[in-house]
Amino acid sequence: MSTSINNDQQTANADVDVSNFSRHLNGQNAPIWWGIIGLILIELSVVSAFTVTYLYLYMQHPQWPPNDIAPPPLLIPTWSTILMLLSCVTMYLAGKSVEKNHSKGFVIYTFASVIMALMVLWIRWQQFDNFDMRWDQHVYGSLLWTISGFHFIHIVSAAIGTGAIGLFGMVGFYTKQRQIGVVVDTMYWNFVAFAWLPFYLVLYYFPWL
């Protein structure tokens, strides 16, 4: 702290000229970067509230899932989880392409990510059909449907948002200098992908315990 105060004392003795500062803010110097961190913090609170709600209700019940309901199968949800995490890699590559001003690569990787998200959505949609229990029979079913649905909506919004960014990329809006939109969209994308992990754990593993 002492060094910084010294610096300030030196520099506070003069006007500060910022005419040559960059007007292109693409990382932690951009307010929107911090804004997305704020959004992610909010959503993390929501994710924890849902997870804690699940655990609370799980602990209230000696038998989970109730009665003659079988624990959910693991294979297909695991595939959708892996696919979702893989789409983070393509989003990362899309960001790298923008860094190098490869707009074609950016568009390809972006739409690859969107297609992977659509595949995840399709798998999830199948799962809704195969849930053993409706949402209005028992709180176990309510949790399964609500938490899955909550995350489903998030993938939908991440996918259409990223699709819109892909379209802007096609008309050449994103360049090395103008890449903050891609940076923050990728941050949100990664959050949506990783937010699934606690849900995956409670929804699919806790019923087996």
């Binding site: 520099t11 506070a12 500060v16 000229d17 500062f21 803010l25 951009a30 509230a49 949402w135 176990y140």
Partner: protein, 646 residues
Amino acid sequence: MKNHPHTEQAIFDDQEGAEPILDKTWLSPPGFFGWFTHVNQRQIGFRFVVTSLIFFALGGLLALLMRLQLVQPENTLMGAEFYHQIMTMHGTTMMFFFAVPAMEGLGIYLVPLMLGTRDMSFPRLNAFGYYVYLIAGITLYLALFLGMAPDTGWFSYVPLAGIDYSPGQGVSFWTTMITFIEISALTAAVELIVTILKQRAPGMTLNRMPIFVWSILVMSFMIVFAMPTVMVGSVLLALDRTFATQFFVASGGGDPLLWQHLFWFFGHPEVYIIVVPALGIVSTVISTFCQREVFGYTAVVLSMVTIGFVSFGLWVHHMFTTGLPHLGLSFFTAASAMIAIPSGVQIFCWIATLWGSKIKFKTPMLFIMGFFAVFVIGGLTGVMAASIPFDMQAHDSYFVVAHLHYVLIGGAVLPFFAGLYYWYPKMTGSMLSERLGCWSFWLIFIGLNLTFFPMHQLGLDGMPRRVYTYLHNMGWGEVNFFVTCAAFLMAFGFLLTFINTLISPYKSRAAGNNPWNADTLEWWAQSPPRNYNFRHLPVISSRTPLWQKAPLYKVTGIRADRREIIITTLLDAKPQGVCIMPSPTYWPFVLALTVGFGFLGFMFKPILFVVGFFLSFFAIVGWLWPARPWLAEKPPEEGHPVRGLQ
């Protein structure tokens, strides 16, 4: 207004005669339709404050109606149903539609001025938050006029609030509008956090930041972690009511107590979300009217941060009578007592500041003195209620009503009104009348003590809260009659302040830039500030920039012909970049309408939520649509090194 192309003839704000250009660049379009495009932080903050005061008045009128019903035993002024509606609306209004938006409004108006910048980080999001707040408030009051208001208390306990015991739309309005208005609280919180962390004037390190800004920062972080819980709770309740999920239904394996946990995990921090900015106001006002820095800056700041943390470990003390395990109860009693430590540290710091100084007893300082008295009484009854054996007796009685009103009026309303008297000259350019202010303060102070102190006695006599009437032979009639009369006295006190704010611009003298000789940057701007807040952006080298002898250095090289602000580093506030801010637009209003459509539609036909979702998507794309010409990088000039802080 479009983004200007990167022309050769850039005009900088340090040039002679740049004022008219700055004025035009930062102009909020006039006229009725222009009103919906405003994004400047001062316009939005002012709207938040004014709207929250209107809701405060409405909530107060509802309270007077309740007092009229309770003026005598077995009164027939209104039935149980209407009484429960206005009781619920009173609590909901005061917590969600007055206290939080009022504090956020002050923050939105003042924080950029205190930091020495020209707008907040996300001006359009700011505007969006305001419209969401406005739409939510209007909808809830429309429901009241249609006789469809919620009637299960501001806490909406299940199973009473479940579909079995509360059919009809009342509680649905509550769950929907609470989820909706939290969007507004959350956007403002993120906005304030980012502005505070990234837009401080060069040189304003974290330990030179005004205490009020610290309090707003702590409040915003608390909102980020507390409000999502009540959103999850109210969404689950809405699902229970609309789709028959079983979260809070015992017969379906759900648990009604889960609601109380979710609600109070938000609800207790909520109290401190309101109180912490009020503590910031107290420090600010005391410092100004003693004309010295607050004693123990670091201790005061750390106390507020500690209060923020500890307040998340208190929620179960609202649930002492629900039959939770004893070990858990003891933990929460200890945590509740622990909050007294940081609160005490602050009180001692304030006493040390006041000690031996020449205190100027202007109206804001009177309200702060009132805060001391009232808040201490509320704190003492809080310690009583934190001990479980006493709480078992007093729970759900008027003792709790007395306690919570002492805490909230003492801890939030009095400091907020102190802030109103203190910053009104900055917001409007004219002083509030001292004489009316003095009358108003004493009427409020005497009125509130006469109103709420006897309620302790009513509670100890066994009068339960939330009842619409009581029997003759209970012997509560005289005290209730007295309380109702006192409530009108207090209301008259508040009315005087409202009158004061309305007539002062026409009657009182001009304020000048710094009428109180305060030390923080907002008093460096004109009163009221120009469109662009400051003629020059300042460079800071001390904690009390306006009390230092040397003139402030300034930032040069900020363009005047487009909305530019300076971004600084998080800890040391070294300049890092220049950000171009967005201009006025209709999109935030449009988005608030589409999101509101989705939420309200959900109440009547769930599929309308999906429609609202996609309409909102289009509104967001329209909002973010990059205007041509796109900003291009100017090649760095050879042999022209970057000057300034590096």
